[in-house]
Symmetry: C2
Subunit: 159 residues, 2 copies
DNA sequence: CCCCGGTGATTGACGTGTCAATTATTGGCA
DNA sequence: TGCCAATAATTGACACGTCAATCACCGGGG
């Protein structure tokens, strides 16, 4: 890493050239990685990573069913996004939506048989790809550093 | 980090629970970070990060103009994606498209005055946000580790 | 009891991304 | 010269994401 020039550092308001280079490499790499994972999942199983997240959450839920809001919280999405996604998944027969008995405003999302089957078939290939492209690409120290980075960045984002 | 159980490690085909947790934290954090940066840029300057990338590349090009293919390579996008994006940017008056004199198939993308103005106004807030949410959230060691991670992951992706 | 603010969820509009197909043109080669 | 595979770029269809608006229903204070 080269030294910062006085101009670059003045007031510490803007990143230096080196900092900016690391930022770009970091975010572009993370993006490429996600795109590659998504593309493999899609071509091997006809599921998107969004589908996978939803099916994972439903699979782990008691009775394979969840209130829409819980599901949104579980996968960390806005409700509107989930609603659109569920509409597409329902059209493909992966999930069903039912009225909620205890709250007439609410909806329950139920894992459909086709969804369960698709999820079972997707798990191993997907986890294998994560190992290949992420875990095995890093030394144990780098893997630990990745967790460390995530924690530090998340702390700042949460402020 | 807890020890791996024999089951989790057998054959080293699938990630362990700990590896998977780090993966999720890493990719979700990177995603949240990008979303936050995009959201700030959008609300402060009415530019998307895609707009910003295109305007940055054009600003640095001689005569503020580039062949469509060069531009695609410069920002690392597929040509189709660029084509769609340029159509939207042209509609907003940020860029213009002209025929290429030396190759009738080709198109030249030209930075329009409105695009130059928008880009000038966006640079400082955007770089400030990158410093705040990324650079300043990390120790120097963590920042170096981020660059290191990107290099290792990119090497695997390039295979 | 009724009103009304808050909540669960959906919808519509629009920007963004990918894939496959298409159009127009180029350049090399028989 | 004339053919044709490769190339530049666009297009259409569709999945995905966000924002703001909307609808229906809940529940508590007058």
């Amino acid at each position: 890493m080269t030294d910062d020039t006085p101009r670059q550092r003045r007031g510490r308001q803007l990143p230096t050239v080196d900092e900016l280079r690391i930022w770009r490499e970091f975010i572009e790499t993370a993006d490429t990685l996600r795109a590659e994972l998504a593309s493999r999942l899609q071509s091997e199983t006809s599921l998107s990573t969004g589908d996978y997240s939803v099916l994972l959450a439903l699979s782990e839920a008691p009775d394979q069913r969840m209130r829409s809001s819980e599901l949104a919280a579980g996968v960390g999405w806005e409700r509107s996004r989930l609603s659109h996604h569920l509409a597409r998944m329902e059209k493909r027969g992966l999930i069903r939506r039912e009225e909620c008995a205890t709250d007439n405003r609410g909806a329950e999302v139920v894992l459909a048989p086709a969804g369960a089957t698709a999820f079972r078939g997707a798990t191993v290939p997907h986890l294998r790809a994560i190992r290949e492209l992420f875990v095995d690409a890093l030394t144990p120290e780098q893997l630990a550093a990745a967790g460390d980075l995530a924690t530090a960045l998340r702390a700042r984002l949460a402020q």
